[in-house]
């Protein structure tokens, strides 16, 4: 491995097999000592974690994009008002909000196919798809936390529908 770095400054070498201890002074000045092996392992874990996080962000971005693409090409696009995705205890809730009141039976098979496709392509994203008619925020809150949801598709209603009597 080359000794040159992007900054051109001579790098510090930390060799896992080094018998000396490493003294670390973090930003908060709370200095600590650990073995060279432990320090090397900690550095490796941090780099791996950073890579994993980047990979996960990319994975999640692709997952969300695939839902938007699906919506753009959906045969029942006229039955779609907006799509919201929200975290829940056991994964994610994907809510397909329909403009009409009542349950739209004709779209269910298509939604199930989407859920199965996403399960096959993005197994790390545990997901449940639910269709709901446009409802006031307080009613949607019974299904998922609107505040922490992301609107993936469509526009928020300018005037929320009145609460059900």
């Amino acid at each position: 491995m080359s000794d040159s770095t992007r900054s051109g400054i001579q790098p510090l070498h930390l060799n896992s097999g080094d018998k000396r201890e490493v003294v670390v002074t973090p930003a908060d000045q709370d200095r600590f000592v650990l073995s060279a092996k432990a320090a090397a392992n900690a550095c490796k874990s941090a780099v791996d974690r950073e890579l994993e996080e980047k990979e996960w962000q990319e994975y999640f971005k692709n997952f969300l994009n695939s839902i938007v693409q699906w919506a753009d090409n959906w045969e029942f696009k006229s039955e779609l008002s907006r799509i919201l995705v929200a975290p829940c205890d056991a994964g994610l809730n994907l809510t397909i909000v329909t403009p009409k009141s009542g349950h739209q039976y004709q779209i269910e098979d298509s939604l199930t196919n989407l859920e199965l496709d996403l399960f096959a392509k993005y197994p790390k994203c545990i997901l449940r798809i639910v269709q709901l008619p446009e409802l006031p925020t307080e009613s949607l809150d019974a299904f998922f936390k609107v505040e922490t949801s992301i609107q993936l598709y469509g526009d928020s209603p300018e005037t929320p529908p009145a609460s059900a009597a």
Binding site: A90, T112, Q131
Partner: protein
């Protein structure tokens, strides 16, 4: 943990209530009972193969992973029951009997029988 037979017994018990309930008067409960019947048929299938699930999400996961055709009938029943229970707006009765009870539930049962579990 309930046995295959216990789950089947409960599924049939729930289903028998559908005969006594009006789908036009109580569409919310009509669809929900159909869903709770489906749950027990599915759990009977899992037990038949030595598995079980301890919550809704795990059941959905197992169905998607191992029985996608059954999941296709199961998910609409689940969606209906969730909406009916938590959305306080009136659920309309159109479709609940024809789509969920007369079509999806029998299809789900048939698909379970196709897996080698006699449920009739």
């Amino acid at each position: 943990m309930a046995t295959v037979q216990k789950h089947l017994q409960q599924a049939r018990h729930n289903e028998s209530l559908l005969q006594k309930l009006s789908s036009t008067e109580f569409p919310d409960w009509y669809g929900t009972i159909a869903f709770y019947s489906a749950i027990h048929y599915v759990e009977a299938l899992f037990r038949h193969f030595g598995a079980s699930s301890h919550d809704h999400r795990q059941r959905e996961y197992l169905l998607k992973e191992s029985y996608p055709a059954i999941f296709k009938q199961y998910r609409p029943l689940l969606n209906w029951s969730m909406t009916a229970r938590y959305d306080c707006s009136k659920m309309k009765h159109e479709g609940v009997k024809a789509d969920l009870v007369d079509a999806r539930l029998p299809r789900l049962k048939q698909l379970i029988e196709d897996q080698g579990l006699k449920i009739a």
